[in-house]
Amino acid sequence: MHAPAQVKEADSPAVRLSQVAITFALKGGGTYQAVRDIDLTVGASEFVAIVGPTGCGKSTLLNAAAGLLKPSAGGADIFGERLSGLNARAGYLFQQDALMPWKTAIDNVAVALEPKGVPRAEALARGREWLGRVGLAAFADRYPHMLSGGQRKRVALAQMLIRNPQILLMDEPFGPLDAQTRQIMGNLLLDLWAQDRKAVMFVTHDLEEAIALADRVVVMSAGPAARIVGDYPVSLPRPRDIAEIRLDPAFHAIHKAIWATLRVEVQKAYAQGEGANA
């Protein structure tokens, strides 16, 4: 399909955001610049976690990488090609509920294969397999409103992964899960990822989770006009176990370094919030 780009593709990063700025037009007139001067590269088999204070623009960056949002300046290159329109090579796990409420869990997962032309019977069989992998085999025939927040996230995860996209965009996928399920899902994600190492952009507000999962942790500043203020490699050995890796002394050293940066931004964001309330 991309014959001329073949050579270029081999060594191009999966995602490259260059000099990206995103400005929203506000309803009552005026504008809000969410992020600016973003340079971020995600290698073809790299797991990058993005942390930052709430409202700094993490989801906005994922939307830009997904092609759902056009940057006001700069651009996104996907495997070396400038992105225009939707990013067909990416799967996106949204922060909000995004399942089709009128479809059961199994139908939500199976329908993801329809655009690829997979016959329905096969799609259903593979859908069941995936639901089993995320631990929801028994819930296949439930509608989203009959599932807990965490179960819905897992269905959405299966829905994204069944298409086998080359880039995974995940926005706080484990947000509503309890601590134990978080660990189980984290380990599951690492297992799946280890099989064929896709490019991952993983947004989380949990720094420990970010370090435990990722190859690199990127820290964003508080908004408006948020930038990237830190980019830390995580050179912990793989395969990792989410729970055990936290006991590693190297983990603590990395955590300390990143937290020093992140704390300043979180406090800034908090102070701004206070100011806005006053």
């Binding site: 759902l68 990416a90 949204f94 909000q96 089709m100 059961t104 329809e114 690829k116 509608y143 959405a156």
Partner: protein, 265 residues
């Protein structure tokens, strides 16, 4: 509340009403006459007797059949038209903007004034009644489908697009179910209006149907006949509404609220 208790209370209200009616119209008070003159108010027993007579003679079934046919046709055509145009206008913003004032004007028009015109165009048979019901059903379904398509959750839509769905697949898996939800939420209203269109049309000019029967009785001051017609109409409405509720339950299993009801029963 338990279902049987509720049903008992509902029946109780009906019986109490009949009892009061009976006492006022059939039981003589001072002077040997009841409080209300049965000529104007009839009596429950007369009404029941008349209804029973029409029922066994078979005449009633004929008129019911006509009204039912008109209602079903008006609903079907109105719903198809409303869905088609609702979709079209929601997906083509320019059409919606251009036609907006005309749609509002047409919808605000009292449909009764159209009845004689429809009788002129389509004759006194069932089609003039179907047309009247259509104009009522069409707008309800149209507005609901239009709203439903436009208010699809942007996240659900973005997710479906990220899954690689093309326009046709989006229509089938996202827009269509969203529009249907809204249509079902107005199902009771639109079926009710289909019936209103049929009965009003018959009332204003026809030779068959429940509306015709009521009109016929009125023209000879046959109050018992009028009330008998109304009774049949009321029972008819309840039967149709129960039917609609059953369909609605089946089609909206995925919505919150219905699940809990299933769990109980």
């Amino acid at each position: 509340m338990r279902r049987t208790t509720l049903l008992a209370m509902q029946v109780g209200v009906g019986l109490a009403f009949l009892l009061v009616w009976h006492l006022l119209t059939a039981v003589p008070v001072s002077g040997g006459k009841p409080l209300f003159d049965p000529f104007f108010f009839s009596t429950p027993l007369d009404v029941l007797a008349r209804t029973w007579k029409d029922l066994v003679s078979g005449e009633l079934w004929y008129h019911l059949g006509i009204t039912l046919t008109e209602t079903v046709l008006a609903f079907t055509f109105g719903a198809i038209g409303g869905i088609a145009f609702g979709f079209l206008f929601a997906r083509r913003e320019i059409l919606a903007s251009v036609f907006d004032p005309y749609i509002k004007a047409a919808n605000a028009l009292p449909r009764v004034v159209l009845a004689p015109i429809f009788a002129l165009w389509f004759g006194l048979g069932i089609w003039s009644k179907v047309a009247l019901g259509f104009t009522l059903v069409f707008f309800i379904v149209f507005f609901n489908v239009y709203q439903g398509v436009r208010e699809v959750s942007p996240v659900v839509l973005a997710n479906a697009r990220m899954l690689g769905m093309n326009e046709r697949q989006l229509l089938r898996h996202v827009y269509w179910p969203a529009a249907l939800t809204w249509m079902f939420s107005s199902l009771h209203t639109s079926v009710g209006f289909a019936l209103v269109g049929a009965v009003v049309g018959e009332y204003l000019g026809s030779s068959a149907g429940l509306g015709y029967k009521i009109h016929e009785a009125e023209s000879v001051f046959d109050v018992t006949g009028v009330f008998s017609g109304m009774l049949v109409l009321a029972v008819f409405v309840i039967v149709i509404d129960t039917f609609v509720t059953a369909i609605e339950k089946r089609l909206t299993v995925w919505q919150p609220g219905t699940g809990a009801a299933t769990a109980q029963g």
